[in-house]
């Protein structure tokens, strides 16, 4: 709420700075205005004296920094050479800064709306719940955390590793319930073996299969402790006159003591591996390896190439790339909403308490459904509060910095960039070009200004009412 109070104070300061100007906008009773004017006229030094502390403070803390920033934005990185509007040119030609502008637009459009909508829903619903206060407390709690801490929390929530990031843990758990993963993710043949990688992650033998001799398919790259329980010693497949046979096994013995391509004692069988016979690009037969790793294909597979389809090796599902280039901004906005929905809720709930019960009762008596009551009575009556919340959040969102700075990993920081972050990066983050930084500051000010003006006017109107 500091943001909201600041413009108010600034507005007051502006009014105080020119106290003797006629203020037609302020409809005061005539007598009071006349008296006020007369005090200023007769003893102006008294007025100045009373205003002085506020003027000095505002001047030093608000007016001077703004003026200095504007002045600074016209100078180069060292602050010595006047460059005119070149810094603004840099801002609007730099690709990264344009991304920041775009992201800011997304933030302003999405974050306040979602937070207010959620706050409204929470406020209306908790009014009916017995434990409403407890619920409100819980929802409001994130507000008690600093942005930095919230950023760290969400950095962890979005961690790619499902065993660390709760978001991906949920996604992976749900995904794995509906589709089982492959038996041997990551397995593959040795690079110099007969099996060569082919399209789609499958492996195909370069030589043709034959009957009467073992057509062995050695694989490596599976941790011993990830083999299915009870995996036994691999056995050479007995040659059969009417079948194409062979063994699929883990061609590796701890210590690297096994011979490549040979079934050594201690090397484990890979059961349940699908083997296909391919002729002319078509699957003509398929088999699955048994407990001892052996498989048998019908006689027609002779002369065909053997393929291990990719379904055997499909990697584990790793969840969603929350912090990747495409999802980073929505992810951070979600974190922001988590923090600020409680704020919206509390303000709206306060507004809700002021809504006259009779109106709601009356509507219900008149036969309106709950939804109609909400849509036609509650929301319109709450509109002023909703606007206050939205505007406050908008101002807050325009200067969002901490969450983005902390949550976005280095590689996608540019994709998540916002103006306030770019301001910091340009000014202090290595480049140390405070000219460009000031230019961004000025732009940010210009962007906040319309919202501020709107806010001040609304406050005035309210005061008049």
């Amino acid at each position: 709420m500091t943001d909201a109070s600041l413009p108010g104070a600034a507005g007051g300061g502006a009014a105080g700075a020119a106290p003797d100007l006629p203020r037609p906008g302020l409809p005061r009773p005539r007598g009071t205005a006349a008296r006020a004017r007369s005090v200023v006229r007769t003893r102006p030094w008294l007025a100045v004296l009373f205003l002085l502390p506020a003027l000095v403070l505002l001047g030093a803390l608000v007016a001077y920094p703004i003026g200095y920033t504007v002045w600074r934005s016209l100078y180069d990185a060292n602050g010595s050479g006047f460059v005119g509007l070149k810094n603004f040119g840099t801002v609007f030609s730099d690709h990264g800064i344009l991304t920041a502008v775009r992201n800011n637009a997304i933030w302003v459009a999405v974050a306040p709306t979602v937070a207010t909508a959620l706050g409204l829903v929470f406020a209306v619903l908790t009014e009916r719940v017995r434990w409403g206060t407890a619920f409100k407390l819980v929802v409001f709690m994130p507000m008690a955390i600093s942005m930095l801490a919230a950023g760290i929390i969400f950095r962890l929530v979005y961690d790619q590793d499902p065993s660390r990031g709760v978001a991906n843990a949920v996604v992976v758990a749900v995904h794995d319930t509906f589709s089982s993963s492959a038996a041997y993710p990551g397995a593959r043949p040795r690079p110099d073996s007969d099996l060569k990688p082919t399209a789609g992650g499958s492996y195909t033998s370069s030589s043709a299969a034959a009957m009467g001799r073992p057509n062995d398919l050695p694989l490596v790259g599976i941790p011993q402790n990830k083999l299915p329980g009870g995996a036994g010693q691999a056995r050479p497949a007995p040659p059969r006159p009417d079948k194409v046979t062979g063994t699929v096994w883990l061609d590796f013995r701890p210590g690297g003591t096994g011979k490549p391509g040979v079934i050594d004692p201690g090397e484990k069988a890979l059961s349940g591996v699908k083997v296909q016979a391919i002729k002319g690009g078509k699957v003509i037969a398929s088999a699955t390896s048994g407990k001892d790793g052996t498989y048998a294909l019908p006689a027609k597979a002779a002369g065909a190439q053997l393929r291990l389809p990719s379904s055997n090796f499909a990697g584990k599902y790793n969840g969603i790339d929350w912090l990747g280039p495409s999802l980073i901004t929505p992810s951070i906005i979600a974190g922001y909403v988590w923090m600020w929905a409680g704020f919206a809720m509390v303000l709206i709930a306060a507004g809700l308490a002021g809504v006259p019960r009779e109106l709601l009762e009356q509507a219900r008596v008149d036969g309106a459904g709950e939804w109609q009551v909400f849509r036609r009575i509650t929301v319109p009556l709450l509109a002023p509060v909703l606007v206050v919340v939205m505007v406050t959040l908008m101002i807050n969102v325009l200067k969002v910095f901490d969450l983005v700075y902390i949550i976005a990993p280095g590689q996608t920081q540019n994709d998540a960039n916002v103006l306030a972050l770019q301001l910091y990066l340009s000014s202090f983050g290595g480049g140390n070009d405070q000219g460009v930084g000031s230019a961004i500051g000025v732009i940010l000010l210009l962007l906040v200004l319309p919202v501020m003006i709107f806010n001040i006017r609304r406050l005035r109107r309210e005061g008049r009412r």
């Binding site: 930095l148 801490a149 950023g151 760290i152 929390i153 950095r155 962890l156 961690d159 790619q160 590793d161 660390r164 990551g186 593959r188 040795r190 690079p191 490596v220 790259g221 599976i222 941790p223 011993q224 402790n225 990830k226 883990l250 061609d251 590796f252 701890p254 210590g255 690297g256 003591t257 990697g315 790793n318 790339d321 912090l323 700075y405 902390i406 976005a408 990993p409 280095g410 590689q411 996608t412 920081q413 540019n414 990066l425 202090f428 983050g429 290595g430 480049g431 140390n432």
Partner: protein
Amino acid sequence: MAQMRTYTRTRTSRTTRIALAAVTASALALTAAACSSDSKKNDSKGSSPSASASASASGSAGGLQLPDLHGQKLEVAAVWTGPEQQNFQRVLDEFDKRTGAKSTYVPTGDSQSTFLGTKIAGGAPPDVAFLAQNGVLHQFADKGWLKPLGAPAQAQLTANFSPGWQQLGAWKGKQYGVYAKVSNKSLIWYNAKAFENAGATEPKTWADFLKTAETVYESGTAPVSVGGADGWTLTDWFENIYLSQAGPAKYDALAQHKIKWTDPSVTQALTTLGQLFTKQNLLAGGTKGALAADFPKSVTQVFTGSNPAAMVYEADFVSAFVSANTKAKVGTDAKVFPFPAVGSGKPPVVSGGDVAVALKDSPGAQALLTFIASTDAARIWAQGGGYVSPNKSLDFSAYPDDVQRSIAQALIASGDDFRFDMSDQAPAAFGGTKGEGEWKDLQDFLAKPQDVKGAQAALESDAAKAYGN
């Protein structure tokens, strides 16, 4: 933790990382307690022998003479915290004991040049500061904030340090600093059990290294853990390959941006690095896993879990990190080999370090620099572990364990063939900022290692912007 600080000190984003680590490592409090009790033990044990050793050393060397500084107060600033700070505190205590001065240590936090800059601007600089970045020394010297070394300190420096390390502390013909604490950034740490299981041996060349990685992969273990979420680990990968492959002369030229990043030597180095990065199988967690792993994770996933990865590249401070955050024992479970030689080049030795400089023209500051440059100080410092000194007069027996000793030996043996971390020499905008410059460009390269030309173009345009040429 000390190592947290070490690997992030010149970077802008460490608050995040430190805080993250603080949240994640639930064992942090425990390990911190363990660390402090350890060093206390060392303290009580170490104080009496070091005192006697110093007496004999000053007798035999005869060079180290410290003035009487009773009643004087000294302020020393450096980035170290935790065990590293306690370790250095023992050096300071010894100094106080010998001179009668009263010195206090001030941690600067990670934005060191900002911290010192404000102190200097405010007219109250610390007497002595340890600068983590070589570039900051130049910057401060140019501004006239540094005081050159006096004759006694210079004498210690000349006696104990090779010309390479001396020059690093000099700028425009004047000696300003002493590189008293350095790190060897050309090490690959590995999980001994994973190597044993795979029947792999320590590789000597890059080709061997890739072959070893394949062997390890065949055993079912993810071979190489890359901490790609932190851009600086990638710059260190590149620097090692480039130094070995292109040679020191080109390395220096590239560090000063006298040759462009579009140079064929860079193409070659990136292509070599791509031999590892393009192979999904060789990276722990594939490309995605590498990009998502920050430095702490890249180390812990090699030494913890049911199916740990086999190798991780980074500097000697990994050892401190391993002891603090995993159950693995450095020297038995966690072993180390030097970064392999690439092509026909020599094995690279890339190093980083903290340079002690005087910010005040006081006798106390000069005396402390003299002491820091002496072998006596290095010996006390080394006993605590997690410390490597470029002081060539220091006996290797001063190091507490074999791993630390071998790291120090490799560093001293390289003589002046070592090179200082390239990204730490570069302007911060290029070599030291999260999400920008070299860090970001190499992360993009890790994400798309086929696109060597694209990576070079991005590096060159960022370098040109940052160096301003």
